[in-house]
């Protein structure tokens, strides 16, 4: 077997090992330098315990040096993650649960004499309806001389954004995009309201933390034992604080959309019926993206057909609600994400390669774009051609709804702005999409004047 492989673009910070791709399969190499820690992780039964509890990604051990590296100790083949997402695409409660999962792992690691050395949201992913920890090289042997090495990282990358959202009563995913390595404590401190100084846990973990970390002598403290009890107190305090954080539900433009929409001539029912009929005749659809998913009604329909579905919407409150509903259910096929299609998550990090863009990650068999097009064309002034291009990059089959200009919702949008959209016609829509897609079916939803299209991408 040849030794050609590629390093994963976001796996370079940790000397314990790295992720690489070889013959389209992702592997993780464990380096010699991490041998002692990794052996303890396995031999203590901690790995197995976490996998059994569904908290950690399972792997297969491959006893072969696939990279030819002299540093090689062992190779792991982790279970494949269906779709990698980033914290700026997660709703408030998803980030909160990821924080609580991190703390739980840190706490449980203490029993076999280990410590969680990384506390970053990137180590957590959504897999089959739940949050799961994906970095099996994050646990190392506990050293009683050292406090929790990931404490600052935890405060900056989980606690700070959650606190800012809680106190500002706003969903602030974008702030994590501005600070992908966590919001610096000094920044978090200055953005939080003054009264948070009187909350014991916020004061200790943010205000005091920021002030002490700034001191010159803080860098070289005299070494003294940091007991397990102290460590557990630290984790408990963070847990108490995070459990109290809430994002108030807001009635946004969309949250009442379906209730209102459903009153319109059984519009949703008719729409569902047409899509259901089409789905019956579409073989081989395994993955889908419901773009503009709102409360996820149509994502659920795809899920019933056992299609792995990304439910994306730009409304963080809708997605948060959907996340909580999914969490309370046994639903495994839907991944709720906050994405603004007029500004999807960009590629960021080292070489602009470390975290990839939403469009680069999204390759699905089917995309659903229901009652979306008018928001992009009339709401955001994006021409049909650019929207068609967006879809052709992401899906091979497309079900898209065209909302005509006479529609009351479009008229509502036009009420307060100049009608600069003479090109907004079904004919131009079909022409623009025809460049990339073949029209398979077209059906008007009775009583609404809206039309559903089924299209497949021209291949080759």
């Amino acid at each position: 077997m040849s030794n050609s492989f590629t390093y994963h673009p976001s796996s370079f910070r940790d000397p314990s090992g790295f992720i690489f791709e070889k013959e389209k399969i992702l592997y993780r190499q464990v380096n010699q330098s991490f041998k002692e820690h990794f052996d303890l992780f396995i031999s203590s039964g901690f790995y197995e315990k976490l996998v059994k509890q569904g908290l950690l990604i399972p792997h297969e051990t491959i006893n072969e040096n696939l990279t030819g590296s002299s540093e090689w100790y062992t190779t792991l083949k982790p279970e494949k993650i269906e779709f990698i997402s980033y914290p700026w695409e997660w709703s408030f409660d998803m980030l909160k649960d990821a924080a609580l999962l991190t703390l739980r792992l840190a706490k449980e690691a203490a029993a076999p004499g280990m410590v969680l050395k990384d506390a970053t949201p990137y180590n957590i992913q959504w897999q089959r309806g739940r949050l799961i920890f994906i970095d099996s090289l994050s646990f190392e042997k506990y050293n009683p001389e050292e406090p929790w090495i990931a404490y600052r990282q935890f405060c900056e990358s989980f606690l700070a954004p959650l606190l800012l959202m809680h106190y500002s009563k706003n969903s602030l995913q974008q702030i994590m995009l501005a600070y992908p390595e966590g919001i610096p404590l000094a920044v978090a401190k200055s953005l939080l309201p003054w009264r948070t100084k009187f909350s014991l846990h916020v004061y200790l973990h943010i205000h005091l933390h920021a002030s002490v970390a700034k001191r010159k002598n803080a860098a070289s403290p005299s070494k003294q034992k940091f007991s397990k009890q102290k460590f557990l107190n630290l984790i408990s305090s963070l847990e108490i604080l995070i459990n109290k954080l809430r994002l108030p539900e807001q009635s946004t433009a969309w949250s009442a959309y379906y209730e209102e929409a459903s009153q319109r001539n059984d519009y949703l029912e008719q729409k569902e019926k047409v899509i259901w009929q089409w789905l019956e005749k579409l073989p081989g659809i395994k993955t889908a993206a419901d773009l503009g998913a709102n409360d996820g009604q149509f994502s659920r329909m795809l899920s019933v057909k056992n299609i792995q579905t990304i439910a994306a919407d730009f409304d963080p409150y809708c997605i948060n609600k959907l996340y909580n509903q999914l969490k309370a259910s046994t639903e495994k096929n839907i991944q709720p994400l906050i994405v603004d299609l007029s500004n999807p998550s960009p590629a960021i990090g080292v070489n602009n390669n470390e975290r990839s863009s939403f469009i680069a990650r999204l390759h699905v068999d089917l995309a659903l774009a229901l009652a979306l097009i008018h928001h992009l064309v009339i709401g955001k002034n994006i021409p049909f051609e650019m929207i068609a291009d967006l879809f052709q990059k992401t899906c091979s089959t497309l079900i898209i709804e065209f909302v005509p200009k006479e529609d009351e919702k479009v008229q509502l949008m036009l009420a307060n702005k100049k009608d600069i959209y003479p090109a907004y016609t079904a004919e131009n829509f079909e022409k623009a999409f025809g460049k990339y897609f073949r029209l398979v079916k077209k059906e008007t939803i009775p009583g609404s004047g809206r039309t559903l299209y089924l299209m497949t991408r021209h291949e080759g």
Partner: protein, 55 residues
């Protein structure tokens, strides 16, 4: 940002803070535990009275 901060690992400053935070939490949790055990003592008592009104 202080100039010298650029030359040290940003994580290292959190050693001292953890020692201080842990000490503060030690005190806070000590009193919370006392408060909780007093609370538990009284709620247990009132529960007992409810369960066995004749006792």
């Amino acid at each position: 940002m202080h100039y010298w901060l650029l030359y040290i690992d940003p994580g290292s400053g959190s050693y001292l803070v953890q020692v201080i935070v842990a000490a503060a939490l030690g005190v806070a949790f000590f009193f919370r535990n006392i408060k909780n055990s007093i609370k538990a003592f009284f709620t247990r008592n009132s529960k007992n009275t409810n369960d066995n009104p004749k006792d």
